[in-house]
Symmetry: C2
Subunit: 337 residues, 2 copies
């Protein structure tokens, strides 16, 4: 299996991406990696990380880079030779099986949609993320790729999420829930009410609406929503977790007793941080595109990059896209274009 | 000023409501309270809390109660003599200036809309909540009263939130932000894009979109969204805070060192809890109805009830509804029906 890695993507690229790639090459002997970026910049760094002449590493030059704060559509239109577009093109041309990028999410979505196209029957690709809960991990899809959605899109996301849960969380019959404002089927907006009907008629383990108040108690293995709501729920949760850590730090440094308490319990804080640590999860897949695409957090560490590469490998091995295509047809929600 | 208090509303009603009412009567000598509920149930409790013959307390009988888990519209239609409907009717008939209820939110919204009607020019009433952030409190509106909204509704919520911030947070020119998935005006769904244009043309301190990732850093004093998104963001935040407390407790009880640390720092945990404590905030006002309506959390304590009564009094004194009506006309977003 061959993974195209966007060397230029991420807040700390290319350094951390190259380090993560080196770690992946060391740990996953069954993988070939194609590192894509500006060769003048990345070549000198390869030596430092001991992969200058690695037998399973191929280098591909990309003249341009999409900056983290560029408007995505404009970037993809004007930068036809950006590292993320070159990665997607490698998959399109059959020279790689997957793309891994910790760069601009919108650009990754646009480039892979444009170059790789969608799987047969799929109308929109969705971003799936693994989330922590008090009872283990669950999947939320769509995390932000699609802002205005129709029920058919959420129905397809349900299937993509189901397959992701089977592949990565090892759940045989994932419970699928619909994020909404009340338990009953009549609760929700026009989109969720339409989606509720559609999901109820599909041969999946649909458990009904999931309310926000139960989100982090894992009442479902897969939680489906549109990308507007998904983005806001995930990002505001990140913001709250950050705020709580700030308050915790302030509270624990107020006097000597508390400081002593914090020292005695310092591993407790470490554990708390680990629970919320996206680095372990290995990035968020964009599901529905014709090829594998894993999007890492912008602030990905080398470990996060390495894990994203690992997940790309697991998806290839599991043949997740074949399963999604077949299941979408089986559930009667394929879209013919 | 006369406050109608729904004695039967809340998870621990009527006991905690009566206790909160007793505390309010003791602390706010400028207030008359009308306690509404089943007199057979509440009368015996009044003595216990020392307000059986209080000169500023009036009792009004209500034969029925809306249970916390009843479907709201059905409850309001079938229970014409429920405590919340009787409260709203007292305001409608000029026998009270405000309603306070910690009962069923949907029923409170339905009953006050039905009995009290809306303020002139207002098309929809919205629930505003005070939220904590690392830089002080801010207001989020709508927290769940309106699931499918149009830009005009969000524009009106912006003004209601502005007046709430002036009255309760003492902010002279509140910064108003629109909850969305990106900073630029082109980012968002159809609703937020339409709302962005409308807010930009109004004489308010509109600062543009507020992203989820900055929500708990108080980049705006008032954050506007539709009730579907507002409910999910607030409820999932509550769920996450609860989960983080669970993880914190688990981490701090794992061994003796950590337990000792927790004991040394026990006031730190108390402080953290206080920051997130809704009891202090005094409930969430339903703004836009013709009269004051404060909705308390279902699990309100006596202190939370007392604070909700206090906020109702502040709103009456501030004449918040006169300000909202005038400002909606001034901003050119009044709706003529």
């Amino acid at each position: 299996m061959r993974i195209a890695v966007d060397a230029m993507g991420g807040d700390h690229a290319p350094e951390v991406v190259i380090q993560g790639t080196a770690e992946a090459l060391g740990q996953y002997p069954y993988m070939d990696i194609v590192l894509v970026g500006h060769l003048d910049i990345i070549t000198p760094m390869l030596k430092k990380h001991g992969i200058a002449h690695h037998p399973r590493l191929r280098l591909v030059h990309a003249e341009q880079t999409v900056a983290m704060d560029e408007p995505s559509t404009a970037a993809i239109r004007s930068k036809k030779n950006s590292s993320i577009t070159v990665c997607a093109d490698l998959v399109h041309r059959g020279e790689a099986d997957a793309v891994v990028s910790a760069g601009h999410t919108g650009a990754a979505v646009a480039a892979t949609n444009f170059k790789m196209k969608l799987l047969p029957g799929v109308d929109r690709a969705g971003i799936a993320t693994i989330m922590p809960s008090t009872k283990g991990r669950f999947i939320l899809i769509d995390a932000g790729a699609n802002i205005d959605c129709k029920p058919i899109h959420l129905a397809q996301f349900a299937i993509m999420g189901e397959m992701f849960a089977k592949c990565s969380l090892n759940i045989d019959k994932p419970r699928v829930g619909l994020l909404s404002v009340g338990e009953e089927d009549v609760k929700g907006n026009d989109l969720t009410k339409g989606t509720f009907k559609m999901l109820s008629g599909m041969p999946i383990n649909f458990i009904g609406n999931v309310e926000g108040k139960l989100l982090y108690e894992k009442v479902a293995d897969v939680v489906v929503c549109d990308g507007f709501v998904g983005n806001l729920v995930i990002k505001s949760s990140e913001s709250l977790a950050k705020a709580l850590m700030t308050w915790l730090r302030q509270a624990f440094t107020k006097n000597t007793f508390r400081q002593a308490g914090a020292i005695l319990a310092k591993n407790a804080f470490k554990e708390l941080k680990e629970i919320c640590d996206y680095e372990e999860y290995g990035g968020a897949p964009l599901l529905g595109v014709n090829g594998i695409c894993i999007i890492g957090h912008g602030s990905s560490s080398p470990k996060a990059i390495k894990n994203a590469i690992r997940v790309a490998g697991e998806f290839i091995k599991f043949r997740i896209n074949d399963h999604i295509t077949a299941r979408i047809a089986e559930c009667g929600v394929a879209v013919n274009k």
